[in-house]
């Protein structure tokens, strides 16, 4: 079997959302002498990317995304023994995600958190209607690389701007990337308030987080 075929088998196993299939594919790839980093990057992670696309296309659903992410984690854990310490479990980045104060909308933000988590980021979802200072506190506590700020109403949108101002005041702005989203948020709004990016939906959030952090 060529390497490409093995990578496809690994990706397909992730897309199947079955832990046993992923474990078996990883063992097989190991026995073929493929480097663990390649197994993860070109096989498992490629499969997770496809899972994200299938979610966006309405072919796979949130439980499948989580099952696939769980299966991938299992596969990665098999490879840990072959890799330098911590290399296998290293996350793509640390992200604090939440809906700003005064806004009780949860579902869209929650889907973004799930997709970021399943893509390999360490995500700290601090919920909805989150006091703005809590974003700052969590960023400090987790040494986050990025903060995701969701707002579903025009009345709560200014909370995103306020968090950016607070980051500046505390000298954190250069260390932390800011992503904004939610129905009334736009690319122009992101530019206006000095955010690093705007994401239209969950899969775009993953793409943009990777662009900025990986």
């Amino acid at each position: 079997m060529s390497k490409e075929e093995t990578f496809k088998e690994l990706a397909d196993a992730v897309i199947s959302c079955k832990k046993e299939a992923v474990d078996a594919a990883v063992e097989k790839a190991r026995s073929e002498g493929i480097e663990p980093a390649e197994i993860i990057e070109k096989g498992l992670a490629a499969g997770m990317n496809e899972v994200g696309i299938l979610f966006e296309r309405g072919k796979l659903f949130l439980p499948h995304v989580m099952l696939a992410a769980g299966a991938m984690e299992s596969g990665v854990s098999i490879l840990e023994a072959d890799m330098p310490t911590d290399a296998a479990s290293k996350k793509l980045g640390v992200i604090v995600n939440g809906t700003v104060e005064g806004d009780v909308h949860d579902i869209g933000k929650s889907i973004v958190s799930t997709m970021l988590q399943s893509a390999g980021f360490e995500v700290h979802d601090i919920g909805r209607d989150v006091p703005l200072q809590d974003f700052i506190d969590k960023i400090k506590e987790t040494n986050a690389d990025m903060v995701g700020l969701s707002a579903l109403m025009t009345t709560t949108l200014p909370g995103q701007k306020e968090v950016i101002e607070m980051l500046k005041e505390q000298g954190l702005r250069d260390k932390v990337k800011v992503m904004v989203g939610g129905a009334p948020a736009t690319e122009n709004w992101a530019n206006k308030i000095g955010a690093d990016c705007y994401a239209e939906n969950a899969s775009e959030a993953v793409t943009k987080a990777k662009e900025l952090l990986v």
Binding site: R57, M66, S110, D125, T155
Partner: protein, 355 residues
């Protein structure tokens, strides 16, 4: 020099595009819808018509005489006395005044009564007030007047309701628990909506509007369909309108079915028959606007989705065309040029039965 036409971005910004650029964006938006929904492209004639509509020199355009359709209204009178959060203009007025203004000042074809929170669950503690207001409004109006709100399954999850937040459970890999939570919430929502509408029917409402069905995913749609079914069974003549929250039914549960069909992953042309089967009279397809794309791209995409839904539906389709949906820019002071063009396109190209 090539002529450029004033049009809009999905966020409402004014831009200039040539006919060729408009056509290219329309085709790209159409292709996206056709690919996602596995539905037919628009014809060349339809695309040409859309280019003509977008490039019309008038600030405001209108449908050809004889092609007018009824315009139904959601959010009730909140747009008059409400605040910025629900696009209200903050004019102090009673709901009766709001309803009568829609009928007599604006020429609305139908109207809706709703309460300021606009979700069904919080109606329960104030049901008598809602009934009383409905009675007074029905005494004074002629146009069909429905009661409307959002199913909003989110209110049944912690901290607002008795069921654990499925999003949190899912992130903790507790998938079975998350699904059980969604199922429990759906049962409660169905029960609440049915109870509320029994009361409102006894106060003379013409019917019910389900606004933003599926906003909380497939469980939200499941609850709404079962409420529609129960209401149709109990009130054979009730008017039922079901408007969706987005073009894709999000699969938060993934396995919920209605009439043997999995609800998750449904596109508008698949949603319409299920909504009709449950017993609704009018289906409201929704296609969300991408703010980073042009109005042409969004309109091409929205018209393609809605046209397929109109064709697949056995009941009238009233396309949702509020802020940020149906090819209308996502901007709370919607520009008249963009709204009127999207409105005309939906009637004349998608063939909707109403808006």
């Amino acid at each position: 020099m090539t002529t450029e036409y004033t049009t809009r971005m999905g966020d409402g910004q004014r831009i200039l595009m040539t006919r060729e650029q408009i056509l290219a964006d329309l085709k790209e938006g159409m292709a996206d819808a056709a690919d996602l929904g596995e539905i037919p492209d628009l014809s060349e004639d339809e695309l040409d018509k859309l280019v003509d509509i977008i490039a019309m020199p008038a600030r405001m355009v209108g449908v050809e005489p004889g092609k007018e359709v009824p315009v139904t209204h959601d959010i009730g009178t909140i747009r008059i006395d409400g605040d910025q959060g629900n696009s209200g203009v903050g004019i102090p007025s009673s709901r009766l005044v709001g309803v009568m203004m829609h009928e007599r000042a604006f020429g609305a074809d139908t109207m809706e009564l709703g309460h300021i929170d606009y979700s069904y669950k919080p109606v329960k503690p104030v049901i008598s007030n809602e009934q009383q207001t409905m009675e007074v409004c029905q005494q004074n109006t002629i146009i069909p007047l429905l009661y409307g709100a959002m199913p909003n399954l989110g209110l049944y999850y912690t901290p607002d309701g008795p069921f654990q937040n499925p999003g949190d459970l899912m992130k903790a890999f507790k998938i079975d628990e998350a699904r059980a939570s969604i199922e429990g919430a759906a049962k409660h929502a169905t029960r609440d909506i049915t109870w509320i509408m029994k009361k409102m029917m006894s106060s003379g409402t013409d019917g019910i509007n389900f606004d933003t069905v599926g906003a909380a995913g497939d469980g939200d749609m499941y609850a709404s369909l079962h409420a529609i079914e129960a209401l149709r069974k109990e009130f054979p003549h009730i008017y039922i309108e079901a408007g969706m929250a987005g073009e894709l039914t999000l699969g938060l549960h993934g396995d919920l079915q209605y009439d043997g069909k999995v609800l998750a992953g449904m596109w508008p042309h698949q949603q319409a028959p299920v909504v009709a089967k449950a017993g609704a009279n009018i289906f409201g397809p929704v296609v969300n606007t991408n703010t980073s794309r042009s109005a042409a791209w969004n309109l091409g995409r929205a018209v393609t989705f809605v046209k397929a839904a109109v064709k697949a539906s056995s009941i009238p389709c009233h396309v949702n065309m509020g802020m940020g949906v149906g090819g209308i820019p996502m901007f709370e002071t919607p520009t008249i040029d963009a709204v009127s063009r999207a409105s005309k396109a939906m009637v004349e190209v998608a063939g909707v039965d109403g808006i």
